[in-house]
């Protein structure tokens, strides 16, 4: 009986691996999850969830234009991602409208522009795969691009890991000791745009913001050390991706949605049972039984 269920679980995991597109999807999504998870720690601590939402939606017209012109879509996405942030900053400075309002109106404007462009530019752009991701249908050139961007972001974040932490924690001190805060601000924004680009392949533009904030929020509930937070964030993102893809394969569900739902469930688990910060504080619960 036990052997039988073991075999089932075994084939649950190995059967999908027989398909080439599944192996590719699992690998690529794990890589993307790792990148977004890494960045997620910074965004959560900096309080940039809304900014992540804005940038990830604003890359839409960039992706469409790049496709239409035959350019790498990451380039278009990057320009519009950073451009949206610049525009948000400009409008905020030059008007009396509050920041969250400006963010909301700028990114929806960009997003709408993207949708209109898709309907106008008759090409083989698949609106559905941009909006909801298509990790199972990823092409070879996309694979190369994703690997390149992912490595770039990971290298940048690794080099400036401590400076970025200081920037999130106490930018005033960073400035006072001669650290280039302006550079760090735009470095983080650049990484955010790039991560949004690779993330949208996995889960699509609408849900990519989840990849950028949920793992960090989960990790934040589980530790008081920044380095641990980064590790937990990356691991939870990767595990969610694997779970999401397997579940979508076996139960024939939308892959992007499944990945994000897996992240949400892991967050809820941490929210309820995190040792120190969970609602039911597991540590105390166990201590009571000893």
């Amino acid at each position: 009986m036990e052997l039988c269920s073991f075999l089932t679980l075994d084939s649950f995991i190995t059967d999908p691996l027989a398909h080439d597109f599944m192996r590719k999807a699992l690998l690529m999504s794990s890589l993307v999850a790792a990148v977004c998870g890494f960045l997620s720690s910074y965004l959560t601590l900096k309080g940039w969830a809304l900014m992540g939402d804005a940038v990830s939606h604003s890359v839409m017209p960039g992706v469409v234009v790049a496709y239409a012109l035959g350019l790498p879509f990451s380039l278009g996405a990057f320009i519009f991602g950073v451009g949206s942030v610049a525009l948000i900053g400009f409008i905020k400075q030059k008007s009396r409208v509050k920041e969250d309002t400006v963010i909301g109106l700028v990114f929806t404007g960009f997003f709408a522009l993207g949708i209109v462009l898709v309907s106008k530019i008759k090409s083989n752009i698949d609106l559905h795969s941009i909006l909801f991701g298509s990790p199972l249908g990823i092409s070879l050139s996309d694979v190369k691009q994703t690997i390149f961007i992912s490595l770039l972001v990971v290298i940048l974040l690794s080099i400036f890991r401590k400076d970025l932490m200081l920037y999130c924690f106490d930018p005033r001190h960073a400035k006072t000791v001669g650290i280039n805060v302006f550079f760090l601000h735009y470095l983080l924004l650049t990484c955010l745009s790039l991560a949004a680009v690779v993330g949208l392949q996995s889960v699509g533009i609408i849900l990519v913001v989840a990849m950028l904030i949920t793992p960090g929020a989960t990790a934040y509930l589980l530790t008081d050390k920044f380095d641990n937070m980064t590790v937990i964030s990356v691991l939870s993102a990767i595990i969610s991706s694997l779970i999401g893809i397997y579940v979508s394969f076996w139960f024939d569900l939308e892959t992007g949605g499944s990945i994000v739902l897996a992240q949400t469930f892991i967050f809820l688990f941490a929210f309820l049972f995190a040792p120190r910060y969970g609602i039911f504080k597991l540590k105390k619960l166990f201590a009571g039984y000893k």
Partner: protein
């Protein structure tokens, strides 16, 4: 015509103005401080105290005037680790996942290489600084688990580890316990003897009388500046606080 030797002054702010998108936060403010001087910065909320600090650290740009730190620009003062800023407790995210050790180590970042790898000397500086503020038992404690006083001391240790010659402290005595207050006062005397220059903002009039050689009363601009005994008068204080009687501010006379 008198020529000013800038080298004599640690801080030299001349007619500085700061505005945020056209809203004036500070105008025509002057300040000169020498090594070993402690100056109190007194004013209402929104009177421009934090703005003054921000201008001196280079966190905001001044729209007019001139700031010289040790006779040099703010930019080179940043590079030389000349100024340390100790934030208000409310000014920092106490839930940030970071330990006492890591916060104090941030005082050394400016003089480390790009990867911020601590050298032997950095580790020693951090250890010494933590010892001076009496937090050696809390090296790996997350700052979220510290009391208000302990957190204040952590940031003071960061300034000590930085080995800055100018300390800017935003409300160093607000929300701290008696023990921390005593320790900070003792440190101030030591800093003074080491020739450091201290500028601190405070709401507490008693502290000004106790530590400050000089006092700078501000309300968007300088109301009065000079020796505490001469400038810190009920009339000046009333003007600074927009007509509120000093009796009210000081509480019942003891």
């Amino acid at each position: 015509m008198e020529t000013i030797n800038y080298q004599n002054f640690r801080i030299e702010a001349e007619n500085i103005c700061v505005d945020y998108n056209g809203k004036v936060a500070l105008y025509d403010a002057n300040l000169r401080l020498q090594p070993g001087q402690i100056c109190g910065l007194v004013g209402m909320n929104g009177a421009g105290k934090t703005t003054f600090f921000n201008a001196l650290t280079g966190f905001v740009n001044i729209s007019k005037g001139k700031i010289r730190i040790n006779g040099e620009s703010v930019r080179s003062a940043q590079k030389d680790q000349t100024i340390a800023y100790v934030p208000q407790n409310e000014g920092i995210d106490s839930q940030f996942p970071i330990s006492v050790w890591d916060v104090v180590m941030m005082g050394r970042y400016g003089s480390m290489n790009i990867f911020r790898c601590p050298r032997e000397s950095d580790v020693q500086a951090v250890k010494d600084a933590i010892e001076r503020v009496d937090l050696t038992d809390h090296l790996s404690t997350p700052i979220g688990n510290l009391s208000g006083g302990q957190r204040k001391r952590t940031f003071l240790a960061r300034a000590i580890a930085q080995r800055a010659s100018i300390l800017l402290l935003d409300e160093p005595f607000s929300g701290v316990d008696i023990r921390t207050e005593k320790l900070i006062s003792e440190l101030f005397i030591q800093f003074k003897n080491e020739g450091k220059t201290i500028l601190l903002s405070t709401h507490d009039m008693i502290h000004v009388r106790e530590f400050c050689d000089l006092v700078l009363l501000i309300n968007k601009t300088v109301v009065a500046y000079g020796e505490t005994s001469e400038v810190f008068t009920p009339e000046n204080i009333t003007t600074t606080f927009g007509g509120i009687s000093p009796d009210f501010l000081f509480g019942p006379e003891s």
